[in-house]
Symmetry: C2
Subunit: 586 residues, 2 copies
Amino acid sequence: MKILEKINSPDDVKKLSLDEMNTLAQEIREGILKRVNDIGGHLGPDLGIVEATIALHYVFNSPKDKFVFDVSHQCYPHKMLTGRKDGFINEKYSISGYFNPNESEHDNFTIGHTSTSISLATGLAKARDILNQNHNVIALIGDGSLSGGEAFEGLNNAGELNSNFIVIVNDNEMSIAKNYGGLYKNLEELRKTDGKSQNNFFKNLGFEYIYVEEGNDIKTLIETFKTVKDIKKPIVVHIHTLKGKGYKPAEENKECYHWHLAGFLDKKDEVNKQIETYESITTDFLLNKKENSEPVVAITAGTPGAVGFYPEFREKMGKNYTDVAISEEHSIAYASALAKGGAKPVLALMSSFIQRTYDQLSQDLALNKSAATILVYWGTISPMDATHLGIFDIPLISNIPNIVYLAPTNKEEYLAMLNWAYNQNEHPVAIRVPFIPLKSTGMKDLTDYSKLNKFKMINQGEKIAIIALGNFFNLGEKIHSKLKAELNINSTLINPCYITGIDENMLDSLKQNHNLVITLEDGVLDGGFGEKISRFYSTSDIKVKNYGAQKLFTDRVPLNELYKMFGLTENQILDDIKKLTNCKLV
Amino acid sequence: MKILEKINSPDDVKKLSLDEMNTLAQEIREGILKRVNDIGGHLGPDLGIVEATIALHYVFNSPKDKFVFDVSHQCYPHKMLTGRKDGFINEKYSISGYFNPNESEHDNFTIGHTSTSISLATGLAKARDILNQNHNVIALIGDGSLSGGEAFEGLNNAGELNSNFIVIVNDNEMSIAKNYGGLYKNLEELRKTDGKSQNNFFKNLGFEYIYVEEGNDIKTLIETFKTVKDIKKPIVVHIHTLKGKGYKPAEENKECYHWHLAGFLDKKDEVNKQIETYESITTDFLLNKKENSEPVVAITAGTPGAVGFYPEFREKMGKNYTDVAISEEHSIAYASALAKGGAKPVLALMSSFIQRTYDQLSQDLALNKSAATILVYWGTISPMDATHLGIFDIPLISNIPNIVYLAPTNKEEYLAMLNWAYNQNEHPVAIRVPFIPLKSTGMKDLTDYSKLNKFKMINQGEKIAIIALGNFFNLGEKIHSKLKAELNINSTLINPCYITGIDENMLDSLKQNHNLVITLEDGVLDGGFGEKISRFYSTSDIKVKNYGAQKLFTDRVPLNELYKMFGLTENQILDDIKKLTNCKLV
């Protein structure tokens, strides 16, 4: 790594010859491969954007000129060129895989969700103009993000700027998976006509436009960027790149290598399809409906892999599968209307990305009582980046009227809930798909979930009641056992199943022989499930203690540290109970 | 009203001659004017869409063919043609001003927020195709809604349909106020070229396209709609209409008559600018910053009138004012980036519409700790339509980390909070602008709001503490007085000021000589402010009772009924307190 070793800031890039930059590109690729092989991460998007990143730093002057990278998952080359190469490549977790202003002045925002770059850059440009400054503002967007509504809203506003504004559209012909939507047909037409087609989405919105076919050629990119530098209008530079460039498996299987787990260089990458998971039982359920000619429609918003909608499943589902592209808002409205129209929509979203849909959940879905099924994946306290936490879906969804939000605790319960959600026609139903290893009771769950808000009494005990929701039901079982073993207390254990309502009869009955109720939820406490239990008991003599995450954006904190920080370890909970009950237990 | 009297369903429209339909248009206009003059409502959009609505019902067969009207505030003619004319025109509140499936099978969804029609219609079309049905699906959009991201996401997905899908773009050259954004320049170009320009936003997204200059001519519209009926592709019919048509003041002042209060036919319409309101002191504040050459940027997302950003203000602000068009998501990202870029953004949104921005509040703003000021108007329990309730902003905003959400109770407090929010550089700050008549203490508020979560102790009493938030501080004062008068209790009265945090010291101190804490908030209880107080005290001996709205979509319920339903009348609260304290007060 001879050249990369010398690069400690973008200034060092500017000193390189073209040959050196081409060598640098190779070295950066090796760095990307090493990083992702070591700890997992985004591979294809970063391999494709190496040359453009070098050219951007060669032509523009960051941090005076301001870059905003969409999703920022394609920032790996940028990180290596802005003084973070060693940490990024060799230290496992010191440098994140996204923009992070705490790391560097070259990262203008913390970014991790899609379609925000143009909106953010428009604000930077307006601030510059108001303050009579004169730097460049450059948004880099691509890899599917253009279909998101926020990107369009930003383009629409930016199109009216009468000042410098540069959008680099990184067109690698892909979203995370295949691209969907009319917009991408236009990009294809522009590629095929070398940018000359009269049909030009960007020009329509008020932008100047340049097309660069050789989006992985440093020389061409430098020449192009030089022509747009300091321009006084909004312009789109549409560059055609190769996702996964330089690593053959990633070039050949772009979706599989968009993001990858560690260890791929040594191992086979095939998913072991023998293992049963919540994802696989979901796709089996959907395929069964399809095979029975039911009007099922499985929906993803651009993230099929994250929810187990693998290519084989998509192919089998045929017209009963829709990828609406990265457009989470639309996906909810679409699912709602499918239900109203008599179809059976099952929409799978990740907890962090369902945040994009509050208003659609409320207005398009809940207000209309559309019987769509929404599966929420990755809802859990996790060591993820601050941009991808899965702890906010409970307050987000459960405080909206009319929605039934369910928290299954095992395979049979999940299937029973999914069946009920799918078959009924009364309620919008969301299911928080367990984010724990698949657990089977081996016995079919015969619960009638149409009796809303009926909690399950798992063990009828006394003194202490444990209400343990979804992923944390296991934790509830453990606390229950320890109370028996250590304090000889036969505590009550409840699986609430419903996040959106309270079993008032059961909770009332606890007043007879309980002093303390604890709630356990795998999400943020504020606005969550436990607070509703606290409110219920707030005028009674029962004490309540809520367990869950604090209202914080934690960033790549290991799970055991998070649990300690939030007081969620078994010992901490036991200690709390001992303290709370010392003076209280009858 | 001779012809309209005979119209009891769309079938009756189909029997009319062209002359009769033209007369019907006049009668419908009279009906619109009467309705809005009687009870207020949307005037301009409905006056402009009369002819198109008649033509739609003449050509298509609702409810078999499915209409989805965007925002649905332009549904007045539709209501009159679908069996609801008497209720709509003559009964004050029996028929709503929006689509309402409970009223009629001709209203396919409950709709009130913008930019949803195409997304919803796409789902209806897909359901039709999956079920092998063959009706038409028609989305009617216009009046500014096209700039919303959800509309674009829908267009992008619909552009790939290979089946019937008709979008009527009602282009009246206006949003609620003036149109902003690059997209509207393209609409203008299409109008000027009679639809022939090569630059065509809709074609780029995969739609067929027809332009109709005579958008208020029934004959032309019928002919056009006949040509697209039963088409097997997605098509846009771009019709050029006149907002406010047929009522001269509305034609001449389109923004003012977009929505209007009752009584305009008899009165002068000038806003009495002498009256000081929270809106006027806000605009005075902003103008003052502008006059001092500060980098202030006042921002609205297409609803300037609703937040007091009247034309005179906009003109004076000049480049320090931005209407980003209907694009609430973008508005948050834009404000965040303005703050990061060193400007001073103050964004004004309505409580109901800020629902569109959860993810932007979280990711673009809060995670980045951008010191933008967000003013939340119309946050209150109200007799509004179910689509426009202002009760969800507290759970929406206050459970996101890093945001400071403030609830002022009077003019001086509001100004002090606004000043602090504007001047500081540490926190994203939202302010829930009081939705009560302006109240002045006459004394400048010298509170240092940088000391976060410090509640104000208004009266240090005993036994009972009243924590009365924002709009409901008045109610707290009344309860306090009644407790004194009726029970001779000197209760503690607290103005919490902060919605997003808890003054643990003050709350702890209450434990010494209080048995009961009541919380009062002008919003939904679930996920709200009071539940956090309940959680705080849940392991103590203090009883807590939370007052606020139930988790319900109420629809045009008079305020006094709502208060009774929610147990919020003074007498109900006093009765509760008596019951709760009978056995408890020391």
